[in-house]
């Protein structure tokens, strides 16, 4: 049986066959005329109070016809619709929306009384702002779209829901501004999402892989944010947003590398300060990637890179180290990565102990034992701190740092130069939805430089980024 049958028993039996799980409950009752009803709902994700108040109570007093339209008008739940296909009705039950079946009708009624357990809206830990909004996305797609709708109160904001994941049936919201977002990007995103054939989508990062033009790329291809204000700002610039149920991280496309050097706070502080911090982030990132590599290259191949006094200090501290400079640096970097990994996943009360172990035991003792030199630890610490100046690029930069280190240890400064060349060519060649990753620097878009590393005053940012190709260029008069 594929569709709802007029015989309630047969339909209910078919539904039960589709939903054999123990947490799917079945409730039977009759209305004022004695007509039998059966309601299917998922135990933990349905608001039972609301279901009783808005569906069961009005129907128990109902004395009218068995037609779906009249019954739908009689229940007081605001979100009601009908469906014939049993498969779709079962999917609704699994999503938390109760399904009502009754005798003498070949349609089922879906009542939107879903109540998914959700975390309260709070400040995201990865995107803390001193000035500006502090709200962050949560794991509930409906709540997240509400946070977006709250900020963009326009009919032009389109939100289309798709279902992704064969078994997870994850609701994915595609958000865009009609007339501002590039239609080809909107269509491309929807097409790619519809083409995904995967069992389970636990997080939006799964979708990011499928939405990328280069899914195997080392460099991220999709923008991410946990903050609705940033998400809305990006949509308003002409991008397409994707929110997946179960993930507090929303995706934005097309992505440009420069986005990760901009923070939401840049728009709430004076332009000069924002420009300074953006350059600071770039500097920190370059230091994070290149400092360990140049330190190694200078020791092994090019001593002139260091001032003489510094060179003598370093020479003094490394003379008894048993490891080669590159191996030493690799070891210290590895320890840093392990500490980093462990500190994220360890319970908070163990974290303090871990810091002591990391800083004192591994740092101090390793130096006094002569395993590693003090400059190596300073360099790695500096690099580690620099990496977190641009938190959204940590995965890419830590790999790049390691690659630079290996090349510096084997080929020296020339290797660093060539690898940088490779990275540059790769970055400028990469495009996503027709938008170059390295824009607005390559290809150079002069007008977009006003909000790239430089940050002009808000009054000067009259147009949307040209690189995105929005059909509605002007954003303020």
């Amino acid at each position: 049986m594929k569709n709802v049958n007029e015989k309630l028993d047969a339909t209910a039996a078919a539904m039960k066959k589709l939903l054999p799980a123990q947490d799917i409950l079945q409730f039977s009752f009759s209305d004022g005329t004695g007509r039998q009803y059966v309601c299917f709902f998922a135990d933990a994700i349905t608001d039972k109070d609301l279901l009783g108040e808005q569906v069961f109570r009005p129907l128990m007093e109902y004395r009218g016809e068995a037609r779906a339209k009249e019954i739908a008008a009689h229940v007081t739940a605001p979100e009601v619709r009908t469906e014939r296909a049993l498969g779709k009705l079962a999917a609704e039950v699994l999503a938390g929306n109760p399904v009502l079946l009754w005798d003498g009708m070949d349609e089922g009624l879906i009542a939107g009384t879903k109540k998914v357990p959700a975390r309260a809206v709070s400040e995201p830990p990865t995107d803390v702002a001193i000035k500006g909004p502090r709200e962050g996305f949560v794991e509930d797609v409906k709540l997240n779209t509400a946070l977006v709708r709250k900020r963009l109160k326009t009919g032009e904001l389109k939100i289309e829901f798709l279902t992704v994941g064969r078994r997870s049936q994850t609701a994915v919201a595609v958000c865009w501004l009609e007339g501002t977002s590039v239609q080809s990007a909107v269509d491309g995103v929807k097409e790619k999402l519809s083409a995904i054939d995967i069992d389970n989508v636990p997080d939006s990062s799964y979708l990011a892989r499928f939405l990328s033009d280069r899914p195997y790329s080392l460099v991220k291809q999709v923008g991410t944010t946990e903050k609705p204000d940033i998400f809305c700002a990006k949509i308003a610039e002409g991008r397409v947003g994707v929110i997946a149920d179960g993930s507090p991280i929303a995706l934005t496309l097309p992505y440009m590398l420069v986005e990760d050097f901009q923070s939401s706070e840049d728009y709430f502080v004076p332009a000069a300060r924002a420009t300074f911090t953006r350059f600071l982030r770039l500097f920190a990132l370059l230091v994070a990637i290149y400092l360990p590599a140049f330190y190694i290259a200078s020791q092994l191949f090019k001593l002139q890179l260091l001032p003489v006094k510094l060179l003598l200090t370093i020479a003094g501290s490394i003379q008894d180290i048993p490891l080669s400079p590159s191996l030493e640096m690799l070891l210290v970097l590895l320890v840093l990565e392990v500490l980093n990994e462990a500190s994220i996943r360890m319970p908070k009360y163990v974290g303090m102990a871990l810091s002591v172990v990391g800083a004192l035991v591994l740092g101090e003792t390793a130096v006094s034992a002569g395993f590693v030199s003090t400059p190596a630890i300073i360099i790695v610490a500096f690099s580690g701190i620099g990496l977190y100046a641009v938190p959204n690029l940590i995965e890419e930069t830590s790999v790049l740092r390691l690659a630079m280190l290996l090349v510096a240890g084997s080929v020296g400064t020339y290797g660093i130069l060539l690898l940088s060349g490779f990275v540059l060519i790769y970055l400028v060649s990469t495009e996503n939805y027709g938008v170059p990753l390295a824009a607005p620097f390559a290809p150079l878009t002069r007008r977009d430089l006003r909000d790239a590393l430089l940050k002009y005053n808000l009054a000067s940012l009259k147009t949307r980024p040209a690189a995105l190709g929005s059909p509605n260029r002007r954003r303020q008069k």
Binding site: L303, Q304, L305, G412, G421, F422, I425, A438, A442
Partner: protein, 362 residues
């Protein structure tokens, strides 16, 4: 269009001069002593005029191969492209040797293995296989980087330059001047590098002038560099093979802060690495225009050419200076034949082409 007019201008103004800073200054001083500016000025003027001519060719939006096949038919056009690609590969040799000597001298204090330079060919193969759009975007990034690098070096060095060393003008005589012009021909073939790009960027009104002026601007920067170089080293300039990497180290702040000038030197060397790969890139472009199938042919040719050049570099490993001298002092005449002859011939024949096209259109 794969490239933009701006990217062409950026290449001419701030990427092309990067290829003339390594061995050319000292070779020039060997012939002309303090008169080194005059031959280079003449070369820059000539190249600016040739750039103007090449950019004029771009007006009809056709590639050079397209133009040639209209004029002389597909077979001869293909033969001409192969010949031109052979010239470009020949021209690639000087920048490659320069790059190799430079790498071994400024990137290592220790004695590097003679294959330390080999990874360059991997980089070049990757670059040459990329579409032209990527190359244009690379120029967008390299142009400001080169300007920062060269201006940084000049700023740190200019205080130590005695421009009086450039006087009296004309001491080298006509012979010295002539040799200076002839022996620097091997470094001035930028107009030829542009030829395979014709038809791949939109021609806007005045682009030929803009391109020529950009090249002239880059040339003026090069002349200033040469003046500072000779002003610092004077009589011993002839022995300073990689002047741009040495001239800023006499800046007084270096003692206290270390070689901060390396930041600028590395910036220039970075741009130079891209410029060094440019002739091979142009050769690949010329051949893919002629034979099509760019998707397959470009990576294949790029790999093959770079592998062949690596083998040649290893073969000539112990005689790099002699190789450069042979090319620039004996075979110098090849450069003007192709770099000047090809664009001028095409420009002269373009009215014939236009007439033929009009006839076909009718």
């Amino acid at each position: 269009m794969k490239l933009s007019a701006r990217q062409i201008c950026f290449f001419l103004a701030a990427v092309a001069p990067a290829g003339k800073l390594v061995l050319m200054p000292s070779q020039l001083v060997a012939q002309t002593a303090n008169d080194l500016l005059l031959p280079v000025a003449l070369q820059i003027l000539a190249q600016s005029a040739l750039v103007f001519a090449v950019l004029l060719l771009a007006r009809n939006g056709r590639t050079v191969y397209g133009m040639l096949s209209d004029m002389v038919g597909g077979f001869f056009a293909k033969a001409a492209c192969v010949l031109f690609a052979a010239f470009l590969l020949f021209a690639a040799f000087v920048p490659l040797v320069e790059q190799k000597i430079l790498v071994q001298s400024i990137f290592y204090d220790t004695l590097p293995s003679y294959v330390a330079f080999a990874p360059f060919f991997l980089f070049a193969a990757y670059l040459c296989a990329k579409p032209l759009a990527s190359l244009g975007r690379v120029w967008d990034m390299l142009a400001p980087l080169f300007l920062v690098g060269i201006l940084g070096v000049l700023l740190l060095s200019v205080g130590n330059a005695d421009f009086g060393a450039l006087l009296p003008v004309g001491a080298a005589g006509a012979g010295g001047f002539g040799r200076g012009v002839a022996y620097t021909a091997g470094w001035f073939f930028d107009a030829a590098l542009l030829l395979p790009l014709v038809g791949k960027f939109p021609y806007r009104k005045g682009l030929a002038w803009k391109g020529a002026l950009c090249y002239l601007g880059g040339g003026i920067l090069l002349l200033f560099f040469l003046a500072v170089y000779y002003g610092i080293f004077a009589e011993i300039a002839v022995t300073q093979l990689f002047a741009f990497a040495h001239m800023s180290k006499y800046f007084s702040g270096i003692t206290a802060m270390g070689r901060i000038d390396y930041l600028f030197i590395f910036a220039i060397a970075f741009v130079m690495a891209f410029y060094t790969a440019m002739p091979v890139q142009a050769a690949v472009d010329a051949l893919t225009d002629a034979f099509g199938h760019r998707r397959v042919l470009a990576p294949t040719l790029s790999t093959a050419f770079n592998a062949a050049l690596l083998a040649l570099m290893l073969a000539f490993n112990f005689v790099p200076s002699a190789t450069v001298s042979a090319i620039t002092q004996r075979a110098f005449w090849i450069f003007p034949v192709f770099a000047a002859g090809a664009p001028l011939l095409l420009l002269a024949l373009s009215p014939v082409l236009n007439k033929r096209r009009e006839r076909h259109a009718r």
